[in-house]
């Protein structure tokens, strides 16, 4: 019981300092994140930042990932977006987001109309069983979204411990 009062005071002090901490963060975070095992940005924050107020269309993306992956250290990801890939209307960017990894932003691909097809592939690390989210931005400002669960048997040890 006696230690309750100091705790409350500490919480109040912490809250008072918070606005400054929140303001200072964006400047330092970009450089500091490199040497941290966990991003200061959550999955929800990352998705909100990429959407920038736009409502995603839940169609137009073929996300090919294994339903079950034995090894989270290397998971094949193939993304195909339905697009004519013309100069006027093409896929500009494809983002891979992870719900449970320490860093929600896994990769960003930047394409031009010269790609001919909006089709990219890579291999990613997954810390644990989770949903993979893909956002595709078109040159007309639309955003497409796809999501797929991957069951991971042996997770990538992304926490560094």
């Amino acid at each position: 019981m006696p230690d309750k009062a100091p705790t409350r005071r500490m919480v109040a002090a912490g809250l008072a300092v918070m606005p400054f901490a929140a303001q200072a963060q964006p400047i330092a975070s970009a450089a500091a994140d490199v040497n941290r095992s966990r991003s200061s940005e959550s999955f929800a924050d990352a998705e909100r930042a990429l959407l920038a107020g736009r409502t995603p269309i839940a169609a137009g993306i073929t996300l090919d990932v294994p339903k079950l992956s034995e090894n989270g250290n290397s998971v094949d990801v193939l993304i195909r977006v339905d697009s004519a890939m013309t100069r006027e209307d093409h896929v500009r960017a494809i983002h891979i987001l992870s719900e449970q990894n320490p860093y929600p932003r896994v990769a960003t691909f930047n394409l031009t109309a010269r790609a001919g097809r909006a089709e990219v592939a890579t291999r990613i690390r997954l810390a644990t069983t989770q949903n993979i989210v893909v956002l595709a931005e078109t040159s007309r400002g639309a955003v497409h979204r796809a999501e797929q669960e991957v069951i991971v048997i042996l997770g990538a040890c992304v926490d560094g411990g």
Binding site: Y103, G116, V120, A121, T122
Partner: protein
């Protein structure tokens, strides 16, 4: 590391207008930052960017994170427009840049 072991897989020739697939695989540990208790802290050392240019014009770019598997594999496409050099660059933490180039003959 002074150079990178990399393999580029793409056709050597294509018809004009044909969409070709380019696959690149580099040998790299993609070391994550370590700062967990009981472990010696070490900085992140990954390939953070990859880019490809075709006859001098950038056609593809990728931003990689520590969430990309070691020995990063990347596959993308491009339209064969003219005979020229397709150049690839891997950018590593710390400023090192590794490059490869391949010529595509367009008929």
């Amino acid at each position: 590391m002074t150079d990178i072991t990399a393999r580029v897989t793409m056709p050597t020739s294509a018809r004009k207008g044909e969409i070709i697939e380019i696959k690149v695989l580099a040998r790299h540990t993609m070391d994550r930052a370590v700062d967990a208790p009981g472990l010696k802290p070490s900085p992140r050392r990954i390939i953070h960017s990859f880019r490809a240019s075709y006859a001098g014009e950038e056609i593809f770019r990728m931003a990689l994170s520590s969430g990309i598997a070691s020995n990063p594999f990347i596959s993308f496409t491009t339209v064969a427009t003219e005979t020229g050099v397709i150049a690839f660059e891997w950018l590593e933490d710390g400023g090192a840049v590794y490059s490869r180039a391949a010529t595509l003959v367009v008929t």
